[in-house]
């Protein structure tokens, strides 16, 4: 059974997602020893970017923008073809990773040993311990449980195909689902589509198996710097307004693109 990691990279005015993907691919190769495939609209691949495969696609049609807290500005957000991962992946067993997910260990290899057709995170947490982040584990007025699309591990199977097809249906009818789940944000998020799709596919029981650990997250408000290739330092203000720092030697979701962009531009 072939295995690999699928990355999606569509640059906007502020963020060089392709550079992040190339940096992530190096980490993936070092720690997971897996091939990578990037899905992108960039035609001329910069020298030094090493992906095992490149799937060239058009920029996903979208007029969608989002506010990037760390850039303090609005930018285009081309996130609408993540649900095409099933047909775009060249492998039998695929790990889809956000390019802002920092691979610093080989922990993700465990997912390939779990006998499930589809896995994603149910729970995310702020590594700085900020309690309000916990609310992000639900969405909409009525607090529907969230499944995070940051990491999706799937096997070629009826179930995985159904989940991705359902995500596409939700994406294509987002206004309906947004109203149904009373989501106040206009922005379509793959996390929402995945959460709704998982509930539908599993017979509305919210009983889908999930990744057996929580998604470590570093928020845009947290200062992030790289100490050595696999050690990062975060500085943050704690809930009791004290300035604190800690070292991270684990995988994590770097939600602040500006800080990650700076690391990618000048890696250790």
């Amino acid at each position: 059974m072939t295995q690999g990691v699928l990355l999606f990279a569509f640059n906007n005015e502020q963020i060089d997602y392709l550079a992040m993907a190339a940096w992530s691919a190096r980490n993936i190769r070092r720690h997971l020893n897996l091939p990578t495939c990037v899905v992108t609209n960039v035609v001329d691949m910069p020298a030094g970017y090493q992906f095992d495969q490149v799937v060239a696609v058009d920029l996903p049609p979208t007029e969608q923008t989002r506010y990037f807290k760390d850039y303090k500005g609005v930018g285009a957000w081309h996130n609408k073809n993540r649900s095409n991962a099933y047909e775009l992946s060249p492998w039998d067993h695929t790990l889809v990773l956000d390019v802002d997910f920092v691979v610093a260990t080989n922990q993700l290899n465990v997912l390939f040993d779990i006998d499930q057709d589809f896995l994603a995170h149910r729970w995310a947490y702020d590594v700085s311990g900020f309690p309000a982040f916990h609310d992000n584990n639900w969405f909409g007025t009525y607090k529907m449980p969230m499944s995070w699309a940051t990491i999706m591990c799937f096997r070629r199977s009826k179930k995985a195909e159904l989940i991705f097809n359902t995500m596409q249906m939700i994406r294509d009818n987002w206004l309906h689902y947004r109203q149904l789940y009373q989501v106040s944000e206009h922005t379509f998020r793959n996390d929402y589509a995945l959460s709704i799709a998982m509930n539908l596919v599993d017979g509305h029981t919210l009983s889908t198996p999930s990744i057996p650990w929580q998604l470590a997250s570093v928020t845009p408000e947290t200062k992030l710097i790289q100490i050595d290739p696999d050690t990062y330092k975060i500085q943050y203000e704690s809930a009791d307004s004290k300035s604190k720092w800690m070292l991270l030697t684990q995988d994590f979701h770097a939600m602040g693109k500006q800080a990650l962009g700076a690391i990618v531009a000048n890696p250790c």
Binding site: T141, Y142, K143, P145, L180, Y181, H204, T205, L206
Partner: protein, 246 residues
């Protein structure tokens, strides 16, 4: 009441000026029969109460004498069976009395909201819900319901034992006090073991208003019930007593 069967569900339903509990009970009975067509179900109406209508909650202790079953699961009328429930018999049958503990929200997760349970917390009473109560004919069950009767009939004295008591006795509080007197372990299963009702009260579920039936999408799946697209399990305590699925 003569014993008619080994096991059965008893649904007390005494109408008030504002609530048609009999209609609620019939809906609950129908929903149970969708899953268990052969289930024994008795709707206990006002005329069937051995000591007559004593008014509201105070009728509860009469259920023990009124049940025609050797083993009874008493259910509050304003509930709906969203999935099979007869596996509870196996869970209960080795006990004399089992009262359900805790409740859950619409995503089938145990609720930690204490908005409606401050009296219990302030008085360190067990978090009991009489909505699902099992007993078998036994001296323990007899003693329990005699105690329940005594607390209802002497509420003015019993309430002095509590901080912030309600003016009138309510069944959950009375059951909790009786459980403390008899020993909580004697009338409950270990926490997390037994059934929990889905409590559709604002505060437990994240609705903006008291009437969830107008706020959330709900669907009959015949049999079964989805609320906010999520399949419900066990008994849904719908709270809004006018809600009818058909």
């Amino acid at each position: 009441m003569p014993i008619l069967a080994e096991r059965g569900y008893l649904i007390p339903a005494v109408n008030t000026e504002t609530v048609d509990y009999v209609a609620c009970a019939e809906q609950l009975a129908d929903s149970i029969r969708q899953w268990h067509p052969a289930a024994n179900i008795t709707i206990l109406t006002k005329e069937m109460l051995p000591h007559g209508d004593l008014g509201g909650y105070a009728n509860d202790w009469q259920c023990f004498a009124a049940s025609p079953y050797r083993q009874t699961i008493k259910l509050e009328a304003d509930m709906y069976a969203a999935t099979p429930i007869d596996h509870w018999w196996t869970l209960f049958e080795k006990r004399d009395v089992v009262i359900s503990q805790g409740c859950k929200g619409l995503y089938n997760e145990p609720s930690d909201n204490r908005t409606y349970r401050r009296l219990f917390d302030e008085n360190r009473l067990p978090d009991l819900y009489n909505a699902v109560t099992y007993w078998r004919l036994s001296s323990t069950a007899k003693e329990f319901f005699e105690l329940v009767r005594s607390i209802f009939e002497n509420w003015n004295r019993f309430k002095t034992l509590l901080k912030f008591p309600d003016e009138s006795a309510t069944t959950d509080v009375v059951y909790a006090m009786a459980a403390v007197i008899m020993g909580v372990d004697a009338v409950t299963l270990p926490p997390g073991t037994g059934p929990q009702i889905t409590h559709m009260k604002r505060g437990i579920i994240p609705t903006m208003t008291d009437d969830w039936t107008r706020e959330l999408v709900w669907e009959s799946t015949d049999p079964g019930l989805r609320i906010h697209t999520v399949a419900q399990s066990g008994l849904v305590h719908y709270h809004n007593k006018d809600w009818r699925i058909a």
